[in-house]
């Protein structure tokens, strides 16, 4: 039977506020355990949460960026469950009246097309603490530093049809929240996590099949792998005539499998009710419009601008705008050298290759955008050749790895002796010498048919470059040679 895959993603993104959603504790990553857990975060009796205005602003910003309806009245609810990393015994979240309603994003597919995926909603909630299950005398250790960190949970419509689309969706969301500056996007630190809902149905059937939810997938690669192994698992069961159990599963990347998370299947009963400690959050059109005005250029808009105004190809513009850091770096380079195409070639070519090879992120690039831009500007003004630029690039990379700031680009070109001779007098002198020393070749040139002379000039160029130890500007050498030789004909 032919099956259709139905996927919906729930993405949790930590909001980049300084303090927690309902308390004045720091949200900084990596602090000693429980040093950033206040009385509110610990869920002690008699405390009251107070909502962080920045968390609200960031959620609204996200909503405006995905063209969503914004909830002018949003309400916090309690989702009740017992787990030690949630000391209050409930999670404060938004069930019926989320801050962000229906919106949409366009995902970029590998064949170069894009597809619109609707976003059902995004709501504000608090993160839980962390349980550490290493051996503490047979007990679990609880660190509540993360408890109360603001999250938005972004819920997609079940419109995603395969693992690659799911990755494209996750990547685009990552790109949007980092462009907006509302989430640092650090997947390895858990700043963004993804729950994947997967089900299969016979092709053509309207009704959804039973779904499973793969929890807490924290990399783009794992999203693709987890979904693909889960699709396989479900297909095998269904084709054997079995049925799928609705359950929560975990992805194990080592064993390349998903497995059920709960030993005994108790239907979740979260007994949601409106949180009596928090009043409805009310915002008006002026508030929303003021935030809409602060929206930065988003990845899709930036890509379009680079294509329309700077003549970059769709592929190049897509690559360069996929991450906020790369896009910012690229534009700094391009503005500095005022040549977007040349800047694109260097950033996507030499620089990306070096970053990949050395496993360095663009944000930690040993070569600053300013230096790369200056170097490209020197190619443009013929100070250095393309070949010489590679040596300058290498030198900049090496000196950037050290603590010292090193030489600026011009000093480096000077000290490496890569400055091209573009002085026409000097080049003419060398050319004259070469022509005088190669009389036979000059005679051949003069006697040759005009259409064959173009090829023959290569010999003289080579001699001049050799005589100048590679420092002569090849473009000028060509021009001067042609003038002088043609004058003899």
């Amino acid at each position: 039977m032919e099956w259709e895959v139905v996927i919906g993603l729930e993405i949790h993104a930590q909001l980049a506020t300084k303090s927690k959603i309902f308390s004045g504790s720091s949200t900084a990553f990596g602090a000693d355990a429980n040093t950033q857990a206040s009385l509110v975060d610990l869920g002690l009796p008699g405390v009251l949460p107070v909502f962080n205005e920045e968390a609200l602003a960031m959620a609204v910003k996200f909503g405006t960026a995905i063209d969503a309806e914004i909830g002018k009245v949003s309400v916090f609810d309690r989702k009740n469950y017992f787990y030690p990393d949630s000391p209050k015994g409930y999670q404060t979240t938004q069930l019926h009246h989320p801050i962000v309603g229906m919106g949409h994003i366009d995902i970029d597919l590998e064949d170069g097309t894009s597809r619109r995926i609707n976003v059902t909603r995004a709501h504000l909630e608090e993160d839980a603490g962390k349980s550490l299950h290493e051996d503490f005398s047979g007990m679990s250790g609880i660190d509540l530093n993360r408890a109360g960190t603001p999250l938005i949970e972004i819920v997609s419509e079940p419109e995603i049809r395969n693992a690659k689309e799911a990755v494209a969706y996750f990547k685009k969301m990552h790109s949007i929240v980092t462009y907006l500056g509302i989430c640092d996007g650090n997947l390895s630190q858990g700043s963004m996590r993804c729950d994947c809902n997967v089900s299969l149905r016979p092709k053509g059937q309207e009704e959804f099949g039973t779904r499973t939810e793969i929890k807490n997938v924290n990399s783009f690669r794992f999203v693709e792998q987890a979904i693909n192994v889960e699709i396989e698992r479900q297909r095998d069961i269904l084709e054997d005539g079995g049925s799928i159990t609705q359950e929560t599963r975990l992805f194990d990347a080592n064993k390349m499998e998903t497995r059920s998370m709960r030993s005994k299947e108790v239907a979740n009963d979260y007994r949601y009710f409106p949180c009596p400690d928090l009043l409805p959050v009310v915002i008006d059109d002026d508030y929303i419009e003021a935030i809409r005005k602060t929206l930065p250029e988003l990845p899709d808009q930036k890509k379009q601008r680079l294509m329309d105004e700077q003549g970059l190809s769709e592929y190049d513009a897509g690559v360069l705008t996929a991450s906020r850091e790369l896009a910012a770096y690229f534009e700094d380079v391009a503005v500095k050298c005022s040549d977007y195409k040349l800047a694109a070639n260097w950033v996507m070519g030499e620089l990306s290759a070096a970053l990949n090879k050395n496993e360095v992120e663009i944000a930690d690039s040993p070569i600053s955008a300013d230096n790369l831009g200056s170097m490209i500007a020197r190619i443009k003004d013929d100070t250095i050749s393309g070949k010489g630029a590679k040596s300058v690039f290498q030198a900049l990379w090496e000196q950037g790895k050290g603590d010292q700031k090193g030489d600026n680009v011009d000093a480096l070109i000077e000290s490496l002796g890569l400055k091209q001779v573009s002085d026409s007098g000097a080049i003419e002198g060398i050319v004259d010498d070469v022509l005088a020393n190669n009389d036979g070749q000059v005679q051949n040139y003069i006697n040759a048919e005009p259409e064959k002379r173009g090829k023959m000039i290569g010999f003289f160029v080579g001699q001049v470059m050799k005589a100048s130890k590679g420092s002569a500007n090849p473009g000028m050498v060509n021009k001067v040679l042609k003038e002088k030789l043609d004058a003899k004909c």
């Binding site: 300084k18 000693d32 429980n34 205005e53 787990y83 299950h133 250790g141 009043l279």
Partner: protein, 95 residues
Amino acid sequence: MALDRSDVKSIADLARLAISDENIDKYSTELSSILDLVEQMNAVNTDGVQPLAHPTDAVQRLRADVVTESNNREKYMANAPAQEEGLFLVPKVVE
């Protein structure tokens, strides 16, 4: 609305309350009568009445995004029954 014994057991389980077997019938009668009381409100016509999340007209106040809390771990952990390396220790919870 009548709650039977299994309803009472599952409610107790959700609330992590230990109840003795002989009290279950008593709880089911009492909880059922509370639900009956609430049930009477269904007789009221609520057409055109907005759902109410809170009894007052007040709206949520916001606080500035400023870190105001300092590290008080030692004080806050003073009452913890078990701790190690700055962590609260709880019975093992691996599922």
